[in-house]
């Protein structure tokens, strides 16, 4: 067992878990942050995408020993400022208005990948956006509306 301290969505967290326990399980089961989903458990689908120090990672592949002292951001933390006003952030708003979420199970991971893409300065070019979310599988949308939603935010139209 290891004592691991880290920041989740701006709040300090401390857990005592085996070092190889998956970040995904700590988020979902120990911290009750079930917004992050498990789709395959082997890093193929991206449903469990979260930001670790701003980089998008598959939480099913990250052992807790790698999380000590780091900053984790999940879908629950995507709109912290906006949620205090009872609102969604621009990315969530664009997904909602442009129809980019259907069954919703890939959506939290997709949003985090999109956030990382935008934070890295990604623009509205569809090809670049597709590269940015290539690690996140969606079976419902055909990706068209997801790409359009991210492009809309990248172009500043929904900010």
């Amino acid at each position: 067992m290891s004592r691991i301290r880290f920041l989740v969505n701006g709040a300090p967290a401390e857990v005592e878990v085996p070092g190889m326990r998956r970040l995904l399980d700590v988020l979902r089961e120990d911290l009750g942050l079930t917004g992050t989903k498990e789709g395959c458990g082997e890093g193929e689908c991206g449903a469990c995408s979260v930001l670790l120090d701003g980089q998008v990672v598959d939480a099913c592949l990250v052992p807790m020993s790698q999380v000590d002292g780091r900053i984790v951001r999940t879908v629950e933390g995507l709109a912290l400022a906006a949620r205090e006003r009872g609102e969604l952030d621009a990315l969530q708003e664009a997904f909602l208005e442009l129809g980019a979420a259907q069954c919703g199970i890939c959506t939290p991971g997709m949003l985090m990948a999109a956030r990382a893409y935008l934070d890295a300065g990604g623009g509205p070019d569809h090809g670049s956006i597709r590269e940015g979310i290539a690690g996140n599988l969606c079976r419902c949308t055909g990706y068209q509306k997801i790409v359009e939603a991210i492009a809309t935010v990248a172009a500043g139209e929904m900010a």
Partner: protein, 799 residues
Amino acid sequence: MTTRTLPYPPIAPERSAADALVVDPGSLTPGRTRGYPLRREGPSKLTGAAKYTDDLIFPGAWYGATIRSTEPRARLLAVELDPDADWSKVVVVTAADIPGENLVSAIKEDQPVLVPIGGEIRHHAEPVALLAAPDRETIRRLRSRIRLVTEPLPPVFDPELSDHVFARYEIGSGDLEAGFAAADVVVAGEYRVGHQEQLYIESNAMIAVPAEDGGMAVYGSLQCPYYVHKAMRKTLGLASDQARVVQAETGGGFGGKEEYPSIIALHAALLARRCGRPVRMIYERHEDIAATTKRHPAVIRHRTGVKRDGTLIAQDIEIVMDGGAYCTLTPVVLSRGALHSGGPYRCPNVRIRARATRTNTPPNGAMRGFGAPQVEFAAETQLNRIAERLGISPAEIRRRNAYELGDVTPTGQTLRDSVAAQEVLRLAIEAADFERIRAATGRVAVERRGSGEVPAGRLRSGAARTASGIGLALGWHGAGFTGSGEVHIGSVASVELTDDGRVRVLIGSTEMGQGTTTIFPMMVSGELGLPSEVVEMAPVDTAVVPDSGPTVASRTAMVVGGLCIAAARRLRAEVEARNGGRPFVEVYRDDAARHGRTRVDQRFEPYPGIEFDDATYRGDAYPAFGWAACVATVDVDLDTGEVAVRDVVAVDDVGRVIHPILCEGQVEGGTLQAVGYATIEEIKLEDGRYLNDRLATYLIPTALDAPRLTTILVEAPFSGAPHGAKGVGELPMDVGAPAVVAAIQDAVGVWITELPATPERILAALDVATRPGEVRSATAAGTAGTAGAAGTAGAAGTA
């Protein structure tokens, strides 16, 4: 033929009755979605607040696991627990623990919930025993300590060699021999398609919670709550009110959560009953792919007689589907396959023979399209090969043969209204600039062949590393259940004015991403004159909602939507009548305060004039059809054979568009699933076991693999439904694959007759087509070439 009957809030202008209406896609409006309501459950999905099954917490719940066969066919002699392991802190359930019937409720009840001792194991992933423990680690440790003692039996893997027939149909019209005798050209072809996995991103999940009165509730990811409810009553021996099924937020279904959730619910419930506490049965992805149902593989053989001008005169079609080890929904999948197998074309002389047989592979079941994508791939590729042979453009041969109003199908059904085949075809050809692009790709192909640079083995020439092509397909999809299915089910949908003045829709139809919870308030509020936002949706819980039939067959908007509209009209009439005829919107709150609750239950009534004889397969196979055209543009890598699908134009007639964004979402998602089916999605089998039963090895398209999708929605309303809707979910799935395969042929000159069109199959076909000494015309490549390469027997001859 195309009258609009229902003014939904933002509505496009009326068109003349003769035209199908192209739906205005609308404009971006902040706070709404192009002026339409936002996805109702969208905010909870986008913030991570939505609770899918695995997100639900039940204190004290144990974890469940399924012990499965590892053999394709065997006699089960014993289930042995390792005496050296500690079994005191877990529960194990076998067939002997089942209180009711050991059968999973289905069309033919042939599938045991668990294989009994002495019973026959029929596929390698068959459930034999169940294990529950307080934690996952104990499950992991003990599951390998349960040993199945078996006696192997000889398995059958080839559906054509199996002598156990699940279903067989023969449909005929006209005089087949006379048709072939009158034909100028006869073309034969054989087409093969494999399994396809639904691959919802949320794997199957079910939690069973025992009730104090001996009843059982299950919370799960599912499409059809009342299928699960019936299965629980039967196997657990529960009274109707003791079995309760609650749908959690569901992360995709695509048919894969139509009937399989019943068996998972039963497994979880059997364990919960045994240990007296909630049991979580959450499938990992590997188990989900290895054990749950897939799209049926099929072999489809065509022999088609045509006149020189391309007019179809005779179609002889044979279909063999692989049902897998148990019947599940196979008879209805095969039925839909048989009924769609000729394609959306008039032909006076037709024979369709279809059968589905049993093999020792995991059972195949429902997947979006339900038998139609298999046969429409074959029908469209066959027609494209005929066009090539006759030197007619693929667009022209479709214009000459596509159904029009008044045409008669092989079951004798006269197409009385909402026939939009020609409209969707024309719109797709125009929007994709099909003829111009095809002329350009054709010129490049001629130059390549004429350059003398075509190397042996591949069609690589000069500097060009890729070849581009464009392909077209036209399709149809029978709206709602086949034949008299709807009449047998007799679905109920309810609308109520609650005693505290709220309007609530009660239906058993599930939301799994398609937009059920958004469109029903729209349909009902439109009738009552209310904003859609104030109409509530009751939770999908069998203790609350009636049986509205399963959420399948693209029937929800069409059939259940129709019932809700009828219920809302009755509610409005009733309330207005007792309030002096004042509008519902003005009086409903006061009415509720004075009269209490008013609930209207609407039961399905047969559509007027629609009749089908299940015994003879004559009559109206479907109340109406949706029509779709698809144009795909591809680049084929001439060195590797890889296909990149660049652009797809999809034109779909859905009868009535209720919410354009959600409707486009269905077309886009279905189209990409069809592109995956065409290019990369394939299950490889060895001794009846799926070899690629992980997401690392069963590939679906990523955002980089996905083409740019352009969707055009067309409305040719069905006159029998109050709102004209014909359904959208499955229609786009039918046409994507043949369009992609036609585009590949346009690019490189070979017909791929077996899906998916993998690089291996394309390169093999090219190798045959360009073998030294053989004629390298496109026609030769398209007939003898592909047939040999794909291991099939396509051939063309002139009568």
